[in-house]
């Protein structure tokens, strides 16, 4: 049979799962989690089949498209439900379904004691479907559907424990911040429509061979579109200034944090930018902004990561910073696209692994998240320790592991941009690498080394750290393997480069510094970073309560005061605005009307006095009236 027709099945499988699990009701509680896992696995299998099919073709013809039906047919406005599977989306499909399936598996154990587990798997499947739709869509509008779909799924999953007000609030916040980004996306689509009359990838972006319409428009328009797309990407990928939701999103169950807020959804922004390469390439100013956003975010996230004592929040900060790397790379243009995606994939592996490890730790520690209450866990949960350790080495870019290949390339590319920008960006990237090494080492030390620091909680039951069940450890192991060898597989011989090049294009910038120097520099800084962390947290015992810390630390603990800013400016301001508007609506707009009514009421009240019921006064008025009539007739005759 024809491979194109399988594409729809990729999405259909998890969608079916979501439908069945959410509509099915309690009678599915027993088997729900297996249904969900199997369907996502099925989707992964289909993905593999398609991948094989693609490998079978030669590089230029590795684009499958499937046109299902015309979605919104309106005069001069064509939006179809059509899918496009090329190397880029293929990469994502494998990442999403693969990691997704693993995390489904993990969740079976993690959510075991939750009576709403079926619902949880339903949401997970819904997320998979939406994410696949996002990466497979053939036009921006359909992409938008997936885009908001993942937003919805993340909203549902962050707020999965809705009885916790904090969770509900976090979910709402995530959705709202994302909505701001979505606004950017929709405006971008409108701009495309007005500029090009279409927003389908094919005609718009074209291919390597024949460039699409994107080049044809004025640079101003293109810059506007690009910036709007960037806004969208910031929202989804938690880039400055829309990053504030990611930290709170950790309220969700840990598998969710691993899948959505580490491996897949948050990288959608990078996908969007890389996908729209044709537009960005034609808008250099926008690209510069992208790189700046990326650089700022990677530092921002790293600094926040250093200060958090909550293990998940620390990892969230690191996610932010890693995505910062990707965005930076994507902003560099053809030099960086491939490495952005590559780092995205490797990051998918090790960050998911790290989160799952964190989850396993929490699982063993009665859901304690404060690292200052951990310590010396390596003996209690060896598998977790090893997998987590490998993930750690991968993320700090330890030579030979996956993170090393991808991140190192990005730093190179940053320098290769050339000029002062090149130096600044490259420097930022290097600094980021150092800080990454620092905070990851800190996490590692605080969690697994040192002496145990946990005490019995208020109602006296001391946590008994233990290794997690098999169903949880297997995914961790798989991911660990991935994070060890992934980089090598991709990086050596530029396999990944050749795989992706036809879509994104690639160009070698002439770097002012040789690749080797960059590599050495990277290694040096990460050693320094690690050493400082060791000096702080490895040599002397970690205090169980956080010291007051420097001003920067305290700011970082509060996400560098960005939330406070939002609260004061947006939330408070918004509340005042709405309250005053409600008042205005009631007094002014409504008041005018009621005022008129009251006026008439008063007037008629006055007039009522005339009706005093005395026949004589009525007679007077009659008499007067007659007199007037006579006067009138006389006047008539006079004139």
């Amino acid at each position: 049979m024809n491979a194109e027709n399988l594409i729809a099945l990729l999405i259909a499988a998890p969608l079916l799962g979501a439908a069945v699990l959410l509509v099915g009701g309690r009678r599915l509680d027993a088997v729900g989690h297996w249904v969900g896992t199997l369907l996502s696995a099925a989707s992964f299998v289909i993905g593999v089949i398609l991948f094989a099919d693609l490998l079978g073709k030669d590089a230029e013809h590795r684009t499958l498209t499937q046109h299902l039906f015309s979605w919104i047919p309106v005069e001069g406005f064509q939006a179809d439900v059509a899918f496009r599977l090329d190397q880029l989306s293929m990469t994502f499909v494998l990442l999403i379904t693969g990691v997704g399936s693993l995390i489904h598996l993990y969740s079976i154990g993690y959510m075991e004691h939750d009576e709403r587990r079926r619902r949880f798997f339903g949401y997970l499947n819904l997320f998979l479907a939406a994410m696949l739709l996002l990466v497979l869509a053939d036009n921006y509008l359909l992409l938008y559907v997936g885009w908001e779909g993942v937003g919805l799924a993340s909203y549902l999953l962050i707020g999965f424990w809705q009885h916790k007000p904090s969770a509900a609030t976090a979910a709402k916040k995530a959705f709202l911040v994302n909505r701001v980004g979505d606004m950017g996306l929709s405006i971008a689509i409108m701009l495309m429509f007005t500029t090009f009359g279409t927003f389908a990838f094919g005609p718009l972006l074209g291919t390597h061979a024949e460039p699409g319409l994107a080049g044809g428009a004025s640079e101003g328009k293109l810059t506007a579109i690009a910036l709007m797309l960037l806004l969208a990407a910031c929202g989804k990928s938690a880039q400055v200034p829309l990053q504030s939701w990611l930290g709170d999103a950790m309220e969700g169950p840990t598998p969710v944090s691993a899948l959505i807020h580490a491996a897949t959804m948050v990288t959608a922004g990078v996908y969007l930018i890389v996908r729209s390469a044709a537009i960005f390439n034609a808008a250099p100013d926008a690209q510069l902004v992208v790189t700046v956003v990326g650089a700022v975010t990677l530092l921002f996230g790293a600094i926040v990561g250093c200060a958090k004592d909550d293990i998940k929040k620390a990892l969230a900060g690191s996610t932010m910073s890693q995505i910062g790397y990707m965005v930076l790379a994507a902003g560099l243009g053809p030099i960086g696209y491939v490495f952005a995606i590559m780092h995205l994939v490797t990051h998918g592996f090790f960050k998911a692994g790290l989160f799952l490890g964190a989850g396993s730790v929490m699982h063993g520690m009665n859901d304690e998240v404060d690292m200052r209450k951990y310590g010396g866990l390596r003996t209690y949960m060896p598998v977790t320790f090893i997998t987590f350790g490998l993930g750690y080495l991968a993320i700090i870019g330890f030579p030979g592991l996956s993170g090393f290949f991808s991140k190192d390339k990005i730093i190179e590319a940053a320098f290769a941009k050339g000029g002062t920008e090149g130096w600044i960006l490259g420097g930022a990237a290097l600094l980021g690498a150092a800080i990454t090494a620092y905070y990851m080492t800190r996490v590692m030390l605080m969690t697994f080394f040192g002496e145990k620091r946990w005490q019995p909680d208020e109602n006296g039951n001391e946590p008994h750290p233990h290794e997690s069940p098999r169903v949880m450890t297997i995914p961790m192991i798989v991911l660990a393997v991935g994070s060890v060898f992934g980089g090598a597989i991709f990086g050596i011989g530029d396999r990944f480069l050749h795989w992706l090049e036809p879509v994104t294009g690639h160009s070698h910038g002439d770097s002012p510094v040789s690749a080797l120097t960059v590599t050495l520099a990277t290694v040096v800084v990460l050693v320094i970073g690690g050493a400082i962390a060791y000096a702080q947290y490895g040599r002397r015992p970690v205090p169980a309560v956080a010291p007051r810390g420097s001003l920067l630390t305290r700011a970082a603990r509060r996400d560098l005061l960005q939330d406070d800013f939002n609260h004061v400016v947006l939330v408070r301001g918004g509340e005042h605005l709405t309250r005053s508007l409600v008042y205005v609506d009631h007094t002014l707009v409504d008041g005018v009307v009621n005022g008129t009514a009251a006026g008439f009421g008063g007037l008629s009240g006055r007039l009522r006095r005339v009706q005093n019921g005395f026949a004589r006064s009525y007679a007077v008025s009659m008499f007067g009236g007659v007199a007037l009539l006579i006067a009138a007739t006389l006047l008539m005759r006079a004139v």
């Binding site: 008499f623 006579i630 006067a631």
Partner: protein, 280 residues
């Protein structure tokens, strides 16, 4: 006297009559409005109507003139008087106005209305007067009769119906339906005993042999007048005359005469007036 009536201007006789009687008529009308007692108003109105009757005659409406006197002054005004009697001859309503501004408004409207009316008549072209001479050629009554029974016969019939309806209506309105059996003397007596108020028949009005009018309260032994003696209706209308002062005056007069007869020197001037003066 038909000939001069055809003229544009009337005979001086009629003019004189008009000015004299016209004044009377207006005075009567004013009296009707401004007399405080209904009776007086009625009398004034009657006067005005008679004057009008005369004017009808003067205008050659002989039949109407007579009818005016007979029907209006004779019947209608009498009817009025009856009602006045029923309602109270001397129930003098104060001319004090209760509704604020009513009087002034009324006068204003009246004045304005009158002026306008006069203006209207003034600039109406009423030049030629062809009096009723030819119309009354073979008798005014015959003329009227001819018209009534030919041209206006239908209206005439209708008015007949109207009169009957009015009569019936008046009866219906004034007739009081007896709801319970009239009580016999016996029952009344028993009721009086039961209620215990004034068992014997009511005392007669009037005092001494002098004042035996029905509207004078008889005096009790201590000399205080007793309302009981006066007719209930009169009492309601508040028309009980008080003669106690007169009685005192008469007493004094008696003493004085007695002293004159006995040639008492010191004569104090009388404090009270003589009865005949008092009654003035």
């Amino acid at each position: 006297m038909t000939a001069p009536l055809a003229a544009y201007t009337t005979s001086t006789g009629e003019a004189f009559q008009f000015w004299v009687l016209g004044t009377v008529a207006v005075l009567g009308a004013l009296g009707t409005v401004f007399m405080r007692r209904a009776v007086h108003s009625a009398l004034c109105l009657a006067g005005t109507m008679i004057v009008l009757a005369v004017f009808y005659l003067a205008n050659g409406a002989y039949f109407l003139g007579i009818v005016q006197i007979v029907v209006y002054t004779g019947a209608i005004m009498m009817l009025f008087l009856f009602v006045v009697m029923l309602v109270g001859v001397t129930a003098a309503d104060s001319l004090k106005e209760t509704i604020k501004g009513q009087r002034w408004l009324a006068l204003l409207c009246g004045a304005g209305f009158g002026i306008l009316l006069f203006a209207g008549i003034a600039n109406a072209s009423l030049k030629q007067f062809n009096g009723t001479g030819r119309a009354n050629a073979n008798g005014n009554v015959e003329g009227l009769a001819a018209l009534i029974f030919t041209k206006y016969v239908f209206a005439f019939e209708i008015t007949g119906a109207l009169l009957i309806t009015a009569a019936v209506g008046a009866m219906v309105l004034t007739h009081r339906e007896r709801t319970e059996r009239p009580r016999t003397q016996r029952e009344l007596a028993e009721q009086r005993v039961r209620e215990g108020v004034h068992l014997p028949p009511l005392p007669a009005p009037g005092v001494y042999a002098r004042h035996n009018a029905v509207d004078i309260a008889g005096l009790l032994p201590d000399g205080t007048p007793s309302e009981l003696t006066v007719n209930k209706t009169l009492r309601e209308r508040g028309q009980v005359r008080d003669v106690s002062t007169e009685a005192l005056n008469d007493l004094r007069a008696l003493e004085r005469r007695a002293e004159e007869r006995l040639e008492r020197t010191e004569i104090e001037p009388s404090i009270a007036k003589r009865p005949e003066e008092a009654s003035k």
